[in-house]
Structures are given as structure tokens and as C-alpha cells.
Symmetry: C2
Amino acid sequence: MTIKDLARETGYSLGTVSRVLNNHPNVSEKARKTIMEAVDRHGFMLNTSAKNLKQQQSETICCIVKGNSNELFAKMLEYMQALFLNTKYTLITDFIDEDDNEVLRARQICLDKKPKGLLFFGGNQKNFQEGFDKIKLPSVLVTSDAKELSFDNLSSVTTDDCGGACCAVDYLLANGHQKIAVIGGSAASDTSQLRLRGYALAHERRGIEPKDRGPYVEGRYSYKSGYDAMWKLLNEEEKPTAVFAMADVMAIGAMRAINDYGLRVPEDISVVGFDGIQIGEYFCPKLTTIVQSVEILAKRSFEMIVACIEEGAPAGHEKIAFELKRKQSVKTIISPK
Amino acid sequence: MTIKDLARETGYSLGTVSRVLNNHPNVSEKARKTIMEAVDRHGFMLNTSAKNLKQQQSETICCIVKGNSNELFAKMLEYMQALFLNTKYTLITDFIDEDDNEVLRARQICLDKKPKGLLFFGGNQKNFQEGFDKIKLPSVLVTSDAKELSFDNLSSVTTDDCGGACCAVDYLLANGHQKIAVIGGSAASDTSQLRLRGYALAHERRGIEPKDRGPYVEGRYSYKSGYDAMWKLLNEEEKPTAVFAMADVMAIGAMRAINDYGLRVPEDISVVGFDGIQIGEYFCPKLTTIVQSVEILAKRSFEMIVACIEEGAPAGHEKIAFELKRKQSVKTIISPK
DNA sequence: TTGTAGGCGTTATCAC
DNA sequence: GTGATAACGCCTACAA
């Protein structure tokens, strides 16, 4: 069933049917009614391939989401959808695997759907370096800094990773912890780099030498990896009194490991996470963490992409404020100064 | 840039370029090489709209996933992708919102991509009743029973929800618990119905009258909802000694509520969940739960859809075995008989 | 092995 | 208001 069939059946021409289906003006009420009736009768739907093929431009913005079970991204998407509701743009979402190439995918989407702008939720610097020059659309990379990439059509909005980590670690130091271990992602990742930098910064500000700092265990952002990393730390000669985990999931894995080892959080070892995902609030003890504001992240990304599209605003790179959420997973060794 | 440009540039014709791009035989090595070089040079990509439009049939199976942060579905998808890797089919995935209409979406996809079969991860009976008659492709509904719908091209694979719930509750009864409360989804949902049926069944088998059973608190499948439901139970005159939560997330919310109320799991109140998600293993105490086998769910769905497509097998409705994972959230009041 | 031409289902630009 | 008709980019007979 195509609009051709619809035309034949209603006695109107292709053009009129198409006009009705696209809510164009200049169609008689009568035509609209007859045609819509036929549409409903058959449950007719337009073929979007044909539509996309023909349309040169669409009032569409595409959001490419990396990884399909990321609570932060899911929440951000909700806000984003709400924001686009009252605009002339339609937000379309495309989920891709964690390790798929988002830039390649974006290029395909540009070809097929001809969107006005691109939003990337998560992204790998390397993929951008290699292929983003082929993309000419205003784009915003959310959750990862694109300043260094310096494409003039690629903005970015990120949480202040370095500052957040610094704040978390400083909080631990202020509470009297000394050797603070870090568990986090691969040192090769930009985000991990920044958070590690924040860790160092907090120490530097208090004049603590590198040799007097705790160890860094690399892993992936998962419960299991957090567990394993912590387990490793627990079996070393000198156990840390506190751990900074670069992600809440790692923090939770770590807390479980501490429990299994027979120690307690925060009595024996304190833990601070990063992200602010829900489960942190439900875990026992409630996780003290650096909260990324998904709401502001979404809002600023939205504003930036729209400004770039409508006013040709230049690409910008913005850092969003974080918030230290003090809960129950940190013990005060000396009263904070 | 289109294949036309590519043809012009390489001196070959449209046909040859297309053949190269689609790995057809009957192309000279030379042509393949020159054309591929041009493709790489420009980073050329085919327009999939045009491709889909033209192609009448594709060796494709589409998986429509409802809700984009469902751990069970994400895991199932991983298995599914692995299963399809060695077949001639390409699995394409389409994520839709929790409350979008999966059947409508499926119809659109059929029009656009002309797949050979459909996989639904999650689905609403009502949507199927209303619109599935328009879909003529072999389909499998995973995680929700489609027997009652009785479409001859719609199979289903589900965990034995009733049996699982019965097992969970029986385990609690066997451990000496008496008034077992239930917290779960809306009584209107099929899955909740089945799990509630299992709860009743476990009691019937031991000859326990409805009046001697615990209360049922309705909610949604979320941490918060589990928390609220439990809080309500805690503030009633007669507190339960055990709770069966229809989802692990609810169970975790409930455990947090118990903690906040000043009681302990399992010493004061025991909890059993349903699903077998990761966090249950990391929570303190580790959650005793009914595990749905995502692996088998995926495997059987895969086998069924392929059988329907290739051998015209009739639709079937299968129940997958669950597993009771005994961990730390249940206390034995009397030794189990 | 390669080239040519028709058409997939739409939308948009014309006339009428 | 409405109806022809020409693309959109690609695939695939069929012809050479």
C-alpha cells in the first residue's frame, strides 16, 4: 500500500494525497476528510525511506547515544526530549554500541536523514579526530571535551571532571584521610585523565608529594571492575583508609569487596564515587559522590545546538558545575578544617 | 556524493560501482581496486534510504527493544547479536521509549526496511491486539506471553513467571515465614498477574487461606516505588516477616526502606526479588532472587524466529526455566522442611 | 566483465 | 484546489 493506491482509491491524485499526509495548506476539507478516512481504514503509513530520500532538508536533530544502558544518558535524553517538545525540531535518537564508531554512524545519518544538527552522548576522541572533518553540521559532544579537537562546528558540554575529582579527594583529605587510593577507567581515556588530574591537584594544593599519595588501579566502569580493583588494594600490604572511585558503579563494586574482605564502609575504609546514579542512594551505606547535573548538561547542550543552527553561533566548550553529595560512605578521621 | 559521482570519477558505470559496493561477483580486480580507492579517498557511504527503498527484501531481522535502560534486555541483546553473527541475517536494533507503541513502530519498520522477521523485547498486549493483525511477518515476543493473543505468526518466549513467583514464595514459607507481603507492578499488567498467581499458588499448596496471607502493594518497577511500597508496609500495624518483590529493583528499594526504618535484612525482615540483575549481587546483603535466564531467553527466541522464517514453523509459546538464587536476604525462622 | 535503463515511494514544481 | 511529472540515490535485469 502506497500513496498511489490511496490516490486511486479516493479518486484524488498523488499530489493531493501527499499534501494531506503532510498537513499542507491548499487542500479542501472534503479531500482531507476522504483521504484521511482511507488512511485510517488501511492503517496506512508513509515509507520513511522514500520520504528521507526525497527530502533535501528536515527539521530534525539527531542524538547519537553511545551505550544502551547508561543511566546518565537515559536521564539526559528525557530532559532533551522535553526541551525539544516546544520547538520546531524533531529529535530523533540513535543508540549505538559502546564500541561502535559514533562518527561513522553520524555520517551515515547525515546522508540518510539530512538533519540540521547532531548531538553526541558520549564519544571517543579518536573517532572524531579521524572522521569528523567529513561532518559539516553543527554538533555538540556531551560528556566529553572537544576543545582540543578544535573543529569549528563541534561544541562540547561536560561536567568539570577535574574539578569534581579534586573536590571529592579534597573532601577525603579534609576528613583526615591520607593515602587515598584511586580506582578508575583506563588512563588512556580523557575523562579518566581529567579525574586523575583532579586527584593530583587536590594533593598539590595541600603540598602532598606524589610519593605520599595512594595507588591508582585501572579498570573499566563496571561493578565487577570496581570490585576487582578494590580487592587488589585490600590485599596489598598497606591498605588505604579511603578510596576515590571514578564512577559510582565502581564505587559500589568496591564497597562490596570491602564487605567481602570483612571490613566495613565507612568505619574501616571510606569511599567516594562520581556520577550520582540512583543506586548510590539506595545502597547501604548511601554513597557519597560527585553528582553530574544531567539536567544542566542537557539544557546547555540544547541551547548550544539551537544557537549554532539558528544564529550560526560559533562552537563553544562549556564546563558544567558538579555537586558533592555528602552521604554515609565517608568517615571523619579528624574533624575537617 | 553519490555512486554517480564515483562512477564519473573512476570512469566506470553506475552498475559496476554498485556491484563493487555490494561485493557482487563478476567484477574485475582492477575495477574493484580503483573504485574502492575512490571510496576510501572520499569516505563514501551508501545512502541507506535509497537502498532500502529499492530493495524489496533484505536478509534482516529487526529487534525492537522497549525501554533503553533495561539491564535484562541489554544482556539479551548481547547474546542475540552473538547468535546472529554466524548466520546470513543481519540483526538491526531499534530502541523505543517505554511507553511508545512497539507494534506501530514495527509496522513502520516493515515498510521501510522490509525485514524477514521481528523480535520484540518487551511489549504491551493491548498494542498487539489493536495492530498486530497488520503485520504479516514471523515475529517473537520475548518476555511476555502471546498465547492468548493467538496470532499465527506471533510466537513468544517468557520466563515461567507464575512458577518463579511460586518458587520464591514457597522458599519463604519453607523457611518459616507466615505473612508474606508482596510488592509489585500494577495488577493490570500480565506479568504482575502471573507472579501474583504464583504467590497464591504457593500458599494454596500449603493449604493457607487467602485471609491468612500478606498484603499486596502495587507500584512500578523502580527503586523508588519499591521503597515507597515497603515504607507503607512498615507503617502498618502488623509488619510482615518477609516480602516478595516482583522485581529486583523493587526489592532493593524495599531493603533500603527497611534499613531507614531501623530494621535489618534479613534479621528482621526477609526479602526475595525477581530478575537476577547484577546489582543484587553487590548489594549488602546479597539479594536472594529468582533469576531469569537471559541467555536461554535469547537462544530460544533466536531459534524460533529462524525456524519460522526458514521452515515456516508454526508459532509457539515457550516458558523458560528460572532459577532460585539463594543468597543472604532471607532468614530461616524454622529449619526448612 | 561492463553499461544502460527502469523503477522503488515520496515530495515538490509546475501548470491548469 | 488539484493533477501531472520530474527528481531523490540506489539496485538489478537485460543487453552488449
